[in-house]
Amino acid sequence: MAYKNYCLVCAGTGCHANTGEEIYQELVKKARDLGVEKDVQVVKTGCFGFCEKGPIVKILPEEAFYVHVKPSDAEELIKEHIIKGRMVNRLLYKEDDKKTDTQGKIDDIKFYQKQLRIVLRNCGFINPEDIEEYIGREGYQALAKALTDMTPDQIVEEIKKSGLRGRGGAGFPTWMKWNFSKQSSSDVKYVVCNADEGDPGAYMDRSTIEGDPHSIIEAMTIAAKAIGASQGFVYIRAEYQLAVQRLEIATKQAREYGVLGKDIFGTGFDFDLEIRLGAGAFVCGEETALLASIEGERGIPKPRPPFPAVKGLWGKPTVINNVETYACVPMIILKGGEWFASIGTEKSKGTKVFALTGKIKNSGLVEVPMGTTLRDIIFAIGGGIKDGKKFKAVQTGGPSGGVLTTEKLDTPIDFDNLVAAGSMMGSGGMIVMDEEDCIVDIVRFYLDFSVDESCGKCSPCRIGGRKILNILDKIAEGKGEMDDIKKIKEISEAMKRSSLCALGQTTPNPALSLINFFYDELLAHIQDKKCPAGKCKNLLSFSIVRNTCIGCGLCAKKCPVNAITAEDCEPLPGKKKPPFVIDGKKCIKCGECIAACKFKSVVKL
């Protein structure tokens, strides 16, 4: 027989070190002593996030979330919660952690909601390859409503009320785009979904399509009704095999069920869509380049205006939106624009999905209301930095974005605040760095990416990016001069003003955040020829601490270039063998010796 209650004890490494195991043992023991072991099962679970509030205990089915639990609390939890069915107030999680008094009534207690999933609403619920399961969770109801109960104006109005802004990077109000296309008179119009997703580290669009392909089809059909289009395209990179496959299955089923094709729901409205595979060039995510690529041209950007909404695919009015933007649409139509607008900040409504990667404990996809702080995402949901290291910075906005430091952790994230903080939303990649990451090195990575991906059509982007990268390489090699900082600024300014598309205009951003927010670290590289994080190889030397080396020679055995030998001397006092030394001229700074030494005697200087 099943139990009445389940008591989940966080045994993630963060909490574990914090006596999670002891609490678990104590709860099991108390449940037995008090004779309720048949009523409650105590289980160890993975990390809940929130490690700084740990150890955490959660009791189901009430979902009571207890924080800072001590082994000595076990008896009270079992006696009160399990036996008497009353929650233990003093241990319950409370917003901003004030231990204010609540009257124990379940409805009054604000249980912590880590995430709010609108875009990812069906991930984990439905089989993405079964249209009926999508329908079972209100799928295509929004389309039914839009086709039978709403005029195009009303649809645009609902989107306007919702405050939805494009999730592809720039945050442009979605209703305005739709409205421009709606107002442009033309016999043929198009609806396009941008699923190119080229930012390194970003994969929210891929996951959304893999998990809920019908939500995109439904939203595009609604957009088509709003602007008067009958043909759509989903532009997706070919390397997203599973997403492409699921989207193909979904369009096929949608056609069979008649929610794509002619005369949808007998309303006389026709719409169908085609999938176009991209070869994976980053610039093809830029809307004009993307449209050129669909037309069969080379994927290079065109100057705007004219904007695609007025003159897009084959010169016809074209609405182009990002995957995540579309994924919000059915819920807005179904639950109303006001509902959506009630979530988020003043100018950024709804939620945002982030792909949390890097030195974070719980990497993965998170969807949170706009206005959530970086601290909440990184520490509460992400569980903080891996291996007990210190947080250094977080990169947002991909190659066009910037790096944010500790001071920005409490900034509520939305489109405008991120720009004000010196970065941008971008598509939602969030790469967390710890104290061992060198900022010069990271910025070089992004510059290298942008230089590789520049389409080469305009010279500021083609030449400017390369020049900045060369300067950064020089700095990382220890040959930097103070004048380089000025040069980076000048080139950046020129690129921002004169590049053709946003790729070139934003390529310098990571380099500028290096200058603006990590000046000390930059100076250390240029003036002191030192890399504080110990990453830039040319600024490092490896050495063996003489008096802790026991002369075992493990490092020498591991060294691939035979740069380590025993010193030609007597063993030091108390040691059996002479210490080893590294020949700096031969050393290639691979770090094998550091990994090999059991006595931490090899150090980076």
Binding site: Y6, K114, L116, R117, Y140, A144, S207, E210, D212, V259
Partner: protein, 129 residues
């Protein structure tokens, strides 16, 4: 399949919804395996087969095993959701083929949660709020 009318759409919704949310004692148990790219890369296909195989061997028939998209816990894939009567709706992480067999024996047959693999739900379901 002939084209859906609005009435058909409602009917499918109601039937499917019932099927997907039913929780009464004599009805089905659902095992939902996260099979996005990250899940599959971490072995979700083996996990899926292990469920089918173990259920077969144990002669448990009222269980549906199905796939779903990525639930977002990329660092602890494969993830599996188990919905069974009288049990909490549970998300398990790091479900290898071996853990899948344990879930069948302990959770589905034995009506106990499987230690060390239970994971917290990321959010409430906005559709049932």
């Amino acid at each position: 399949m002939s084209k859906l009318t609005l009435a058909d759409l409602k009917k499918i919704r109601d039937e499917k919804n019932k099927e997907m949310t039913r929780r009464d004692a004599d009805k089905e148990i659902q095992v939902v395996v996260g099979m996005g790219t990250c899940g599959i890369a971490s072995g979700a296909k083996e996990t899926f087969s292990a469920f089918i195989d173990e259920l077969d061997k144990s002669h448990v028939n009222d269980v549906v095993v199905k796939q779903t998209g990525c639930m977002g816990f990329c660092s602890v894939e494969p993830t599996v959701r188990v919905i069974a009567p009288e049990m909490p709706d549970t998300i398990y992480n790091k479900v290898s083929a071996e853990v899948a067999r344990r879930i069948v024996k302990e959770h589905i047959i034995g009506r106990k949660l499987v230690d060390d693999h239970v994971f917290d739900h990321p959010s409430r379901d906005i559709l049932t709020q």
